[in-house]
């Protein structure tokens, strides 16, 4: 099993929005280079939505109920996880997280994968999943807030990771200028990050519509347009035409930064 895949680990709270008191962890669904695919994990199963995997306390070595929010999975830099994982192995709870048996890790990855791919009535119930939450319920309201915090966390983590490696990206790419613009927007609290997964046409339309309401900030903002164009060219040059890269290219600012990190891996 890959180094961290299938583990439920503490996040780097230095990057988590300060105004949020939520306690959460992150489930490592996959890893590629220094990019980890993370899903948030909370332990209140009442907030679980249809695409969330529920793991009862009895079925996990962590001995508490887990809700792995599959719908919010997204690419993060490795620094989004708690930095002192090795050093803190004296901490009993972290030791417990790191000692999760391989079989359990494999099962969690497989179950989450299954849950995301199977939604028909015949297949959907083979794993324990959440339900469709009423839009105006407390749980749904809590989730909406949580989604925003998770998006902010992702963007801040990616910005921090990109800024920490100034030599990783060629100058012509325009990463520096884009980061400055994104940071400025963050400070202005304009929240250009509308969605975590602008994965399809529908979501792109929604972002555009949302952008229009927000006064014309669209995913094609001129500050990041340069970076977007350069990344598109890079994708073409590298002949990477997979759907995942396309999604990232047409996605939010965080998606763009993730794509840049994927296309320009860290030098060893």
């Amino acid at each position: 099993m890959n180094d961290k895949n299938g583990l439920v680990l503490p996040i780097n709270y230095n990057l988590w929005p300060a105004k949020s008191q939520t306690i959460l962890m992150a489930f490592v669904q996959a890893s590629e280079g220094d990019i980890l695919t993370l899903c948030p994990v909370v332990n209140d199963f009442k907030v679980a939505e249809f695409f969330d995997l529920i793991v009862p306390a009895a079925n996990t070595s962590l001995a508490c109920d887990l809700v792995i929010m599959g719908k919010l999975r997204a690419g993060f830099p490795a620094t989004a996880l708690y930095s002192g994982l090795d050093a803190a192995s004296n901490d009993e709870s972290i030791r417990l997280c790191l000692a999760m048996p391989d079989s359990e890790r494999q099962r969690l990855v497989a179950d989450l994968d299954y849950l995301q791919k199977n939604t028909s009535t015949v297949t959907a119930f083979k794993v324990l999943r959440g339900t469709f939450l009423p839009k105006y319920s407390d749980a749904a309201r809590w989730r909406r807030k949580f989604v925003r915090r998770w998006q902010e966390f992702r963007l801040v983590s990616l910005i921090a990771a990109v800024k920490a490696q100034p030599d990783r990206f060629p100058q012509y790419l325009g990463v520096k200028a884009a980061i400055e613009a994104i940071e400025q927007n963050l400070k202005k609290n304009l929240k250009p990050e509308a969605v975590v997964e602008p994965a399809n046409e529908e979501s792109v339309i929604k972002i555009s519509a949302s952008a229009k309401r927000r006064g014309g900030i669209s995913i094609e903002r001129s500050e990041t347009l340069e970076l977007r164009r350069n990344l598109a060219k890079q994708l073409k040059d590298q002949k990477q035409t997979d759907a995942e890269s396309e999604k990232l290219l047409n996605g939010s600012d965080a998606d763009l930064l993730e794509l840049a990190m994927r296309l320009f891996p860290a030098r060893r």
């Binding site: 249809f50 529920i54 109920d65 469709f132 407390d138 989604v147 997964e197 309401r213």
Partner: protein
């Protein structure tokens, strides 16, 4: 796909408006004036707050905050909201407050209380208010009931109707009663009297019951609860019993309706029950899918769309019916039908396992493609 939350966008817009208002030349003077009014006379502010709190507490808590009682915290939240509005430089109240002499300040703030109470009420109540109270206040047909005038022959006022000795003695024929109801179809009251199984005496009793409820409604005494009974009670009661409860073991009182309508009741199952439901679903998913394929083949597109809105989007029954362009009675009829269809499956399950059925329907309907039919945006 993550939902986009509009709350933040609204917040940004509000801030922008405030920013704009603050830049206007008269703002500083108005602000000074308001501060003087309140700081110079601390007792005025205290008295006002006390009166506002008392007024808030008079609103029925179940309707206006979804709780059994007003807590200090809830009252103070409402107070805060009221202040946020009247002291918002971007709103007209701000200018009014600045210009008003101290004795008029209370009446300005007063006008805002009702608006905030409605704005902060649970969504279902807000929907009810927008749909019905507004109509009651503005529409001619409803005014006729509200004012209880003795109208001319065809449109007799309710009081006149009720005082008609022939009605009291039950001399009116079923047709007459139903026809009276039919005239009022425009009011969008549920046409429950037209349900297939109600004929003769039963039909007349039902219509009579509806008139009684309507009368309570007109009196505005128990406006919301009467309306809920009128529109949703049969729906809620039948459905609660039919899918998630054992036959005959559910209580039928208004509290059952309250619970049913409460969107916040959420998932009431504990982890053990949740696992039990999962087991039932795993065991039955295949056979139930085949069963419901057959059942839904006979449903009209708007019935399926209605059920999708109710189960998947989790809208209240009346709202879901509205979405497919139907009166709330459509909810009653559709629930009645699906209840009948589910009966053979229900009988095989224990009370702990029953929630599996609604959970299954949720997923079944989420997989169903929306069919062309009347859907209101």
């Amino acid at each position: 796909m993550t939902e986009i939350d509009i709350e933040d966008v609204n917040e940004d817009q509000k801030l922008a408006l405030i920013e704009e208002a603050v830049k206007k030349p008269g703002f500083a003077a108005m602000r000074r004036q308001i501060l003087e009014s309140f700081y110079d006379d601390q007792a005025l502010a205290d008295r006002l707050i006390e009166k506002m709190a008392a007024r808030i507490r008079k609103y029925p808590p179940r309707d206006y905050c979804g709780e059994w009682h007003w807590t200090d915290e809830l009252v103070s939240e409402r107070l805060q909201k009221i202040w946020e509005t009247v002291l918002n430089p971007a709103m007209s109240y701000f200018a009014k407050l600045a210009k008003a002499p101290p004795q008029e300040i209370a009446s300005i703030v007063w006008g805002q209380i009702r608006k905030i109470m409605i704005a902060e009420a649970p969504p279902y109540f807000k929907w009810f208010y927008n749909q019905f109270i507004q109509q009651l206040q503005h529409d001619q047909p409803l005014n006729r009931f509200a004012s209880k005038k003795v109208a001319k022959q065809r449109f007799r006022g309710l009081r006149a109707w009720k005082e008609d000795s022939r009605v009291k003695l039950g001399f009116k024929t079923v047709e007459e009663l139903v026809n009276f109801w039919q005239v009022e179809k425009k009011l969008r009251f549920p046409n429950m009297a037209r349900r297939e199984k109600l004929i003769g005496e039963k039909l007349r009793d039902r219509v009579w019951e509806m008139f009684n409820l309507l009368n309570e409604w007109v009196r505005e005494k128990n406006l919301y609860s009467s309306w809920k009974k009128l529109v949703n009670f049969p729906t809620a009661e039948q459905f609660e019993q039919s899918l998630d409860g054992l036959p005959g073991d559910a209580d039928n009182g208004p509290e059952a309706v309250e619970r049913y309508l409460d969107q916040n009741r959420g998932n009431l199952l504990n982890m053990e029950q949740l696992c039990q439901v999962k087991t039932v679903l795993c065991e039955n998913a295949e056979s139930w899918t085949g069963y419901f394929d057959k059942v839904f083949a006979g449903f009209r597109p708007e019935q399926k769309n209605f059920l999708r809105f109710y189960y998947v989007e989790r809208l209240a029954p009346g709202v879901a019916a509205e979405k497919v362009g139907k009166a709330p009675s459509f909810a009653t009829q559709t629930f009645g039908r699906i209840t009948e269809e589910c009966r053979p499956l229900r009988e095989q399950l224990s009370s702990d396992e029953l929630p599996a059925l609604s959970e299954f329907l949720r997923v079944y309907l989420s997989n169903m493609k929306p069919e062309a039919g009347r859907t209101k945006k």
